[in-house]
Each structure stands twice: as structure tokens, then as C-alpha cells.
Symmetry: C2
Subunit: 148 residues, 2 copies
DNA sequence: TATTGTTATACTCTATAACTATA
DNA sequence: TATAGTTATAGAGTATAACAATA
């Protein structure tokens, strides 16, 4: 049993459920859905239009309207009219939103530490390095800059 | 930028979104939600009660009722009365369910291969090994046997 | 009494289609 | 004409609370 080894697909799927579930639970304690949390996380280093958000979060633009409505009502984000296109809106994190996402991030980091606890330091470093490589390559494939 | 390195938490979160999203899209093509897909995946090597499913999928038992209703209506699973507890039901995969989950798994494996394409073979092996170790440890923590 | 599962219900989130206003 | 965003609407999936049957 301790020697059992999952295939890459099963392993990554289960790891995703584990990580995704941890983030979901942390977010829920702050009354955030996982999509709302991703929104706030995305806005930490971007001020995208509604349309760009739809692409980044892989949601329909009508879903983005509701998502931003709810977040704006809570004072977490704000719509700023674009200066170059009077049809367009840009979405920005408020100070309240920034501090909330930072709280969630801190909590979530503790979860990830616990999840990776079984690995020695060298293993955790190796994993982070491999994961980063995968992400950079895949972000490039989708035309998204991981470090805007 | 190509040298950028994400922290473990950000990296694992983004990797989870990537993997989770891939599975979600594959599942959707077969009219399966990600939870329904997890259900079928779980049933590949188990015949749990409704209650056990609620624990495995981290859902309320009333949600499990609906989930199994929908899957049973499509002929993917079946409820089998427990032989030892007349209150309890056990949920089993049908042949149709087994072949569907196997299709989704095959498709998803192709996605994972593409996602890991940026890594050399040694990197993919190292990643699988690290992930397996993490999962086995975490499953043990939750009292769940990864290889029942 | 406690537990297993179901039901009734309300809520959140999502996409589709039709719309307004700009480009 | 095409695009950015909103609205109206319907559907899927979730949890809470109350319930029946059995332990």
C-alpha cells in the first residue's frame, strides 16, 4: 500500500480535488465562492475589462456581470469606466478586497504547507519547481502572461 | 519572466485550476458535472453507502440523494439495498457507467499528457512520484484508503 | 434514542438570448 | 456591422430542516 503509485492523470486529479477543496473551504469561511476567490486573486496584479475577465475565469460575460455585481456590493471590487472605450469597464480591487484576498491567501498557504508536510524540504522545492515549469508553459500556450 | 517562480500555494492553486478545468471540460462533453465524474471515478473500485459517498465527496447526504438520482436515471449507477442494514443503500457502477468513466478517463489522460508536455520524461516521473507521496499521506490523514 | 436516507424548499451560480450603447 | 456589457430567464446543484424506516 505504501508503495502504491498512481498514474499521472489520477494523481493530478486527486491532488487537484485536495487543493481545490482546501481553497474552497478557506474561501467559504469568508463567504467567498471559489470563483469569487479566483476573481480577487486575479485582480491582485491586473485591472482587466469584463471581457478579459470572462476569458481569464472561463465564464460567460453574463456570469461576469453577476460575479462583479456581488463583489462590488460587498465593496471588494469596483468598476472603473475605461478611458479609451466608452462601452468598456475595467475591474479593480478595492483596499477591502485586497486585504480579504490576502487573508484567504495566508490561510490557504497554511493548508498547502500541511498538504505538503509529507515531503522533505527538497521534495517540496522540487515539486514547486516542476509545477512552476508546467504552469509557465501552459500559460504561454493560452497566451496568458503569468507575471503581468 | 521565464525564470519566474511561483510560491507553492499559488503554484498548486493554479495547477489545480488547470487540471480541474480540463477534467470539467472533458466531463461536460459527456454531460457530466465534475462531481458526477468524481462519483463515477470513486465507484470504479468501491461500492459505498450513501453516507460513505457523502464523506468521500464532501457533500451533504441530501445532495448525494439527488446526485445518485440523476446518475441512476441515466443508467450509470444503481442503488443496491445493503444486506446488513435495511436502512442503508449501496451504490454500484453499472456497465454503462463503467464504460463512460473509462472514456472520460482516457480523454483526460490526453489532457494531462499535454499539460505535462513541457517537462522531460524524468520531470514527469519525478512529479508523479511526489504527487503520489503527498496523496497517500493525506488520504491516510483523512482515514481514507487510496487503494481499497 | 440514534442513524440512514429521502423529501420539500430556498439559494447561489451558470449559460442563453435579447437588448442598449458605443465602436 | 461588430463589440462591450447588461438584463431576463431557466436550469443545475447545493444545503437546511423535517420526516419515515430501521438500528
Amino acid at each position: 500500500m505504501t508503495d502504491g503509485q498512481l498514474g499521472a492523470a489520477d494523481g493530478l486529479a486527486q491532488l487537484s480535488f485536495l487543493v481545490y477543496g482546501a481553497l474552497e473551504r478557506r474561501a467559504a469561511r469568508h463567504d467567498l465562492s471559489i470563483v469569487a476567490t479566483r476573481l480577487l486573486g486575479t485582480l491582485r496584479d491586473r485591472t482587466p475589462s469584463m471581457n478579459e475577465l470572462a476569458q481569464l475565469l472561463v465564464l460567460d460575460k453574463s456570469s461576469i456581470t453577476g460575479l462583479i455585481d456581488r463583489a462590488e456590493r460587498r465593496g471588494l471590487v469596483e468598476r472603473v469606466p475605461s478611458t479609451t472605450d466608452r462601452r468598456a469597464m475595467q475591474v479593480a480591487l478595492t483596499e477591502k478586497g485586497r486585504s480579504l484576498v490576502s487573508e484567504v491567501a495566508t490561510d490557504f498557504e497554511a493548508d498547502v504547507s500541511a498538504i505538503l508536510d509529507a515531503l522533505p524540504k527538497s521534495g517540496r522545492q522540487a515539486l514547486s519547481r516542476l509545477v512552476s515549469r508546467v504552469l509557465v508553459a501552459n500559460a504561454a500556450d493560452r497566451g496568458i502572461d503569468l507575471f503581468p
